[in-house]
Symmetry: C2
Subunit: 362 residues, 2 copies
């Protein structure tokens, strides 16, 4: 099976669908805007690669001034290390002998590798694996209201930091959080309190890493943070428009889809199903917004079809075989479904990029 990936110069309407298509200029603008904001507020910026999983985009982010990359899984970090990136923060508890062995190998070849921990089991695993010849840098993940992982209090962070500091093979690198939306105040208060406790026993806390695209433009409301991590901002999506974090013109990723059936006057079926858009709702009650069809609603997805109610649509309807562009609810999970994505400018393909770490959830 050889799939006909489009050559540079191919008009977008000749690209086979469903396909994520990414606007080169909007990506560049999104990268520039975020970096300028972080520079202005003297916050180090660490883009999360989960959204694009592409060396091509990561290089642009670093060229703009990012300090390094954020990966979520060890396998992603290995893939980006293979591609030559050398400042990588893995925001995950890495557990078990097999993974710890790989982490040690990675730490030997990546100059600025950092991982995180929110519990003693993870710290004990790191401590048993690393030695003072090449210590591992560990940040403590703090739950500042996000309700995912993380130690629950500044005191718990302080206690875990002491364990890290006491280990010859570990370097306590700081604190890290992924807050609830609008959580700046809670982050600031958590970090300040934990830093005071650490300071009282002379433990240095060089990095205080805050995160999230949803609150990217509120990063300066956490002066205690030294860096910010964000992924979605690079492409943006329907959820980012809803919260006002980006404008329509900042949407860099669309899923190109084709009308494959018009069974009834009010029903139009597209070739982008849950295997192209995912079922992520993120609070919406439908599965994406169609640029060309205001008022249309993608009411249900099967795996390879999007059933669209166009009864409330005010625009001229496309015909069978014609394309539309869908703004996905959540761009990161869309990227992860495709081995390659298509970039474009001025209506024509500029390049096809193979994802470095698609589906590497380990």
């Amino acid at each position: 099976m050889t799939f006909p990936w489009p050559e540079p110069g191919t008009p977008l309407h000749d690209v086979l669908t469903p396909m994520p298509v990414i606007d080169e200029d909007r990506v560049a603008a999104n990268i520039g805007r975020a970096q300028r904001y972080m520079d202005q507020h003297r916050i180090a910026f660490r883009p999360h690669i989960k959204t694009h999983k592409l060396s091509y985009v990561a290089k642009q982010q670093l060229a703009a001034g990012a300090v390094g990359l954020n990966c979520q899984k060890l396998t992603e970090a290995e893939a980006f290390a293979d591609a030559g990136f050398d400042d990588i923060l893995v925001t995950y508890n890495i557990l078990g002998a097999s993974r710890l062995g790989r982490l040690k190998a990675l730490n030997n070849r990546v100059s600025a590798l950092k991982v995180c921990a929110d519990n003693e089991v993870a710290v004990a695993g790191y401590a048993a694996t690393f030695g003072k010849d090449k210590p591992l840098s560990v940040l403590i993940e703090c739950d500042t209201g996000g309700g995912r992982c993380g130690v629950q209090s500044p005191r718990a962070a302080f206690e875990l930091a002491q364990k890290i500091s006491a280990s010859d093979g570990l370097h306590f690198a700081g604190l890290l959080t992924y807050p609830a939306p609008g959580g700046a105040k809670a982050v600031q208060s958590f970090l300040t309190e934990a830093m005071a406790l650490l300071d009282s026993v002379g433990i240095d806390c060089p990095i205080r890493s805050n995160g999230g695209s949803p609150d990217i433009w509120q990063a300066h409301l956490v002066p205690a943070a030294t860096e910010h991590r964000a992924g979605t901002y690079v492409y943006n999506d329907r959820s980012m428009v809803r919260t006002g974090e980006c404008k329509e013109d900042d949407l860099a990723l669309h899923v190109l889809a084709t009308v494959v059936s018009i069974p009834t006057e009010g029903r139009l079926v597209l070739d982008a199903g849950s295997k192209a858009l995912t079922s992520d709702l993120l609070g919406f009650d439908d599965f994406g917004r169609i640029e060309e069809l205001p008022g249309a609603k993608i009411v249900s997805l099967s795996e390879e079809h999007a059933v669209t109610d166009v009864s409330g649509c005010t625009a001229d309807l496309p015909r069978i075989g014609e394309q539309v562009r869908i703004v996905p609810n959540h761009c990161c999970v869309v990227s992860n479904l495709f081995d390659r994505v298509v970039f474009h400018r001025d209506g024509a393909v500029t390049r096809v990029e193979k994802l470095l770490a698609r589906g590497t959830v380990w």
Copy 2:
């Protein structure tokens, strides 16, 4: 990056997570049970490859007596043709010059290729592409209440069938439907009426293809159908248990996951997020059922984490680093996230299989 895929014989608890793990014996039992039922009722059985995308499983399905395979996209059909399968039905409107050219090439090398159409644009494309030297077999998709694709009435099917029959390059192969759950009566009535119309002008309608795992054991309630298509039945999932189409012991696919964090007494975080389980709810209000933790609830997924409320859980809780098995809401979309899956028997890995057509949504 070289990922340590487990060797045969590896204990399941040494398999890195998150990972779909598939019980060899349950797959064999599911294949056997469905095929015996279809044989008993003299219904040809055509498994849908979307659920597994594996040559290994497709071969077992054919060995048990299936007449051929069902693919949803042309790219899947190409991949399975490359693997040597020769009776393939593609249940999709295939549109556009590029795809039609590939379809023609495929028809030249697959002895029993069949596609479908529910509109005149698709039929016109087929008719313009194929000649009488190697005609294309086309089934008409009928909407019998499923509300996806399909012509809306037996008369519309009849009219489209006449167009297919009138083309030298096309062979009218029959009717096809994916009904609404519990739709046996509607399917029977639609097929009977359309067949009578076709018979009145002497058009043969050899295949009447009904579909769906949700109604797999009701297939015999549609005597007008000659074949049944189903995918999910081979692994089964939480949605199939809910509707009573399978028992707990028929669940062949689990997502193996590891506890990576226990931030609070009632909250446990697993390493299987939406990039391992998908966000498919299928009517549930949580994202999967954990075998070892009755009463636990996977309340939210981020991309690499499952936040689980264990406050109502009656079992002993696992510790950080320990594994659990998750029954996903929907198994087909889980397979599609992984390039490889792990098979097992008696607690040990039997093989790792590479998916033939993961993510090939074209």
